[in-house]
């Protein structure tokens, strides 16, 4: 048992000085809301979500594949000043991650300079030998960088992890806002909240800006989905729809000669940019997994010969691995010559003997993660775990030390959340979506995930987390 006094959490609405400025009106709002109205609105929100069709299948858990992610109506708010700093930090990080990818698939200067161990890069399964030496249009590998952030104090933010492949959840950012505006128009009249609804347009321009050299016309962009059984299918249809582009499956595309075409009722149409929501291993059975039925045979050859652009670029995953994460501040210094604006969480690499020793001695205080895991699976939250859970993890780490990292348990900030008895603080994180093409762009907002269980620090939707609308106050 952990006998230490429980840590004090920073609450984003009320600190020692009372209600913080950005939340003042929300405080009035929830206090004056008649109790009956709240339930009605909550039901209304749920009905809206279900009608629109936003559902979510929990990976590998079975159960109702059309489960809703719980939506909490209490918004999470950032001041303009807070956001300005976050924005600079996020853009800085997204830029460094892309420069890193350009570098390791080219000359590998950062490795040669001894700033990142060669093995971590080149032995990494996410490092695609097949694309080594290829420079994608505008040198961008990761066109949508999702950076998971947590807050521990008024001025203290940490990056929890980077997502350089195909970060999901942006449809929730947009729909949460849409639903809040529909249900509580007054709130938006009284508060000046920066809009987020231009995200699909920005995404489309980003994708169009990285069309391949061989494309000499208005680029045709498509969204490639694994199909409607995928848990994020709703998001795929949503994004395609909002961008006004076709949502295709692998079977809709084929390769002939130098290009990729889609099958239409009017015959084949050439495709220039593919925003794929499909893992590297599945996109081309002729290059990667031969058993993949989801991909397009020959796609990689067309990509590597400059006939089509794939977003994110195959191989981008080598930048968002948890083992590489440790070195992102180093990347920022190396490529940009700047100090990181956003801090990393101090991380112990179990592959290193000293770190491992510390980790094994302090398991009850630490959070342990699998290097290649995601979605909150394969994770140990020391202070919230039983003795046997801790021992099970100890065995796992000893068995495969390189597969794990550990971090101190962060005192994640809380945000007021509607519960049975009114409102109560619940832990939150934030995932903003940074777009990189010809230029770099960030819409003011993101996806706030909230751990709905009291005291829980796990915000993943697959583990009982919910979502909130995220406000950035206009200047």
């Amino acid at each position: 048992m952990n006998t230490k006094t429980p840590p004090v959490y920073f609450d984003e609405m009320s600190d020692t000085g009372g209600i913080r400025a950005p939340y003042k009106r929300l405080d009035d709002w929830h206090r004056t809301m008649p109790s009956g109205i709240r339930n009605i609105k909550q039901h209304e929100a749920e009905a809206l979500f279900r009608r629109i069709g936003i559902t979510f299948a929990v990976y590998g858990e079975g159960g109702d594949p059309e489960r809703l992610i719980p939506f909490d109506m209490f918004p999470r708010v950032f001041t303009f000043g807070e956001w300005r700093k976050l924005e600079r930090g996020i853009k800085q990080r997204a830029q460094a991650l892309n420069m890193f990818l350009s570098d390791v698939y080219d000359r590998g200067e950062i490795v040669k300079a001894g700033r990142i161990p060669a093995d971590l890069v080149y032995r990494n399964e996410a490092f695609e030998i097949a694309v080594h030496g290829f420079r994608p249009p505008k040198s961008v590998f990761s066109h949508i960088v999702g950076i998971d952030l947590v807050r521990t104090g008024p001025d203290q933010f940490y990056v929890l992890e980077d997502n350089c492949r195909t970060p999901s959840g942006v449809s929730y950012m947009l729909e949460n806002r849409e639903i809040m505006m529909r249900m509580f128009p007054d709130l938006f009249v009284k508060n000046r909240i920066a809009p987020v609804d231009h995200y699909p347009n920005a995404l489309k321009s980003t994708l169009a800006s990285v069309a391949p050299q061989k494309c000499d016309h208005e680029p045709r962009v498509v969204v490639l989905t694994p199909g409607h059984f995928n848990s994020a299918y709703y998001e795929h249809t949503f994004l395609a729809d909002m961008m006004g582009v076709e949502l295709v499956e692998g079977q809709d595309l084929f390769v002939e000669g130098d290009f990729v075409y889609m099958k239409t009722t009017e015959g084949p149409k050439k495709v220039d940019v593919i925003y794929r929501r499909l893992d590297d291993a599945f996109i081309d059975p002729l290059c990667f997994r031969p058993d993949s039925m989801l991909g397009v045979p020959g796609l990689m050859s067309v990509y590597l010969s400059g006939g089509v652009t794939i977003c994110s670029a195959p191989g981008a995953g080598v930048a968002d691995d948890k083992a590489i994460y440790v070195y992102v501040p180093e990347m920022i210094r190396f490529y940009l010559g700047e100090e990181p604006i956003l801090e990393n969480v101090p991380t112990f690499q179990c592959g290193k003997a000293d770190d491992r020793k510390y980790v094994l001695e302090n398991l009850p205080e630490l959070v342990v993660k699998e290097v290649h895991g995601s979605g909150g699976y394969g994770m140990l939250v020391g202070p919230k775990s039983s003795k046997s859970q801790i021992e099970a993890f100890r065995a796992k780490i000893e068995d495969n030390p390189g597969g794990y990292i550990a971090q101190p348990t962060l005192a994640l900030s809380t945000c007021p959340t509607f519960v049975e008895e009114g409102i109560a603080p619940r832990h939150v994180d934030l995932r903003p979506y940074c777009l990189m093409g010809e230029k770099i762009e960030l819409v003011p907002g993101g996806l706030t995930r909230v751990a709905l269980t009291e005291g829980s620090l796990v915000v993943n939707s697959s583990q009982g987390g919910g979502v909130k609308d995220t406000w950035v106050m206009a200047e």
């Binding site: 399964e125 000669g257 290059c287 045979p297 020959g298 050859s301």
Partner: protein, 276 residues
């Protein structure tokens, strides 16, 4: 030595198939021990496109058939001048990083038996240089796996071949790669041709061996199946993590028709060729 290569791969389907696509790694590069004098790939009506050069210096081109086909042949013919460089790949233009060739694939997965074999083979060689260690491992593969045609399949793994104790050049190469990886030495699979015997009769349709990266020397070929390093009898076509990634032809046909594949390779010394 001048080697004349004729390599025909003929595909027959029991019913017409639509949408055949292949990736060809059929273009040998030139380097100190190998000079390509002439080279031609005939695709028998397949549309050639999407050609590029990968980091390992191989040229890959994509060939598609969109209309129904029942039979076609890929015919490679060329003339290559070779020289013996004791297996060392010198002057070859590539940008790959040796450290990337330490990861295993399904076919080179290092199981317990392979690990034990590696440990035993290198016992007492802790002080030896990587070249000596590689030679030792190659010899050890030749000893552990007897050359035998028809005992293994194209998808046989190194671990399976070792357990069986029999195999062909592909199995020897996979096994040597797995052992090198265990020993921390980068290694990769190479496909190519071998002028095997004076009478010109090939002992295998096409040949394969392993390349091992030795600091200071670069990539060095090891043909464990023949207990030697590639010399002037060898023509190097391309490389990859294993036989799948280094395959001269990798293809997919949509449809359920069953496929009949016929490969014919001849590698003849030019002098001999001219006498005919």
């Amino acid at each position: 030595m001048k080697l004349r290569i004729e390599h025909e791969t003929r595909y027959r389907f029991d019913a017409p198939v639509r949408g055949v696509i292949q990736a060809h790694r059929l273009w040998p590069g030139s380097f100190e021990g190998q000079n390509v004098l002439s080279w031609k790939v005939d695709t028998d009506g397949g549309v050639v496109g999407a050609s590029y050069c990968d980091a390992a210096g191989d040229r890959i081109s994509t060939v598609t058939w969109r209309t129904p086909v029942e039979e076609f042949a890929i015919t490679v013919s060329g003339l290559v001048e070779t020289a013996d460089t004791s297996g060392v790949l010198r002057g070859f233009k590539e940008r790959s990083v040796p450290a990337a060739y330490l990861r295993h694939t399904q076919q080179t997965y290092p199981d317990a038996a392979l690990r034990t074999l590696c440990e035993e083979a290198l016992e007492g060689m802790e002080e030896a240089g990587p070249l000596d260690r590689a030679h030792k491992l190659a010899a050890c593969v030749a000893e552990a796996i007897e050359y035998a045609l028809g005992e293994t399949e194209p998808h046989t793994t190194a671990a399976e071949a070792l357990a069986l104790g029999k195999g062909v050049c592909q199995d020897h190469a996979h096994t040597l790669i797995a052992l090198c990886h265990i020993a921390g030495i980068p290694a990769r699979y190479v496909s190519g041709y071998l002028h095997a015997r004076e009478d010109g009769a090939p002992h295998e349709a096409s040949h394969a061996w392993a390349e091992v990266f030795i600091g200071g020397l670069g990539w060095v070929g090891f043909d464990a199946a023949n207990g030697c390093c590639p010399d002037e009898r060898y023509v190097r076509l391309g490389s990859g993590l294993d036989s799948l990634y280094a395959a001269p032809i990798r293809g997919i046909a949509s449809g359920a028709a069953s496929e009949d594949l016929n490969v014919r390779v001849t590698v003849a010394a030019q002098e001999q060729f001219q006498q005919q």
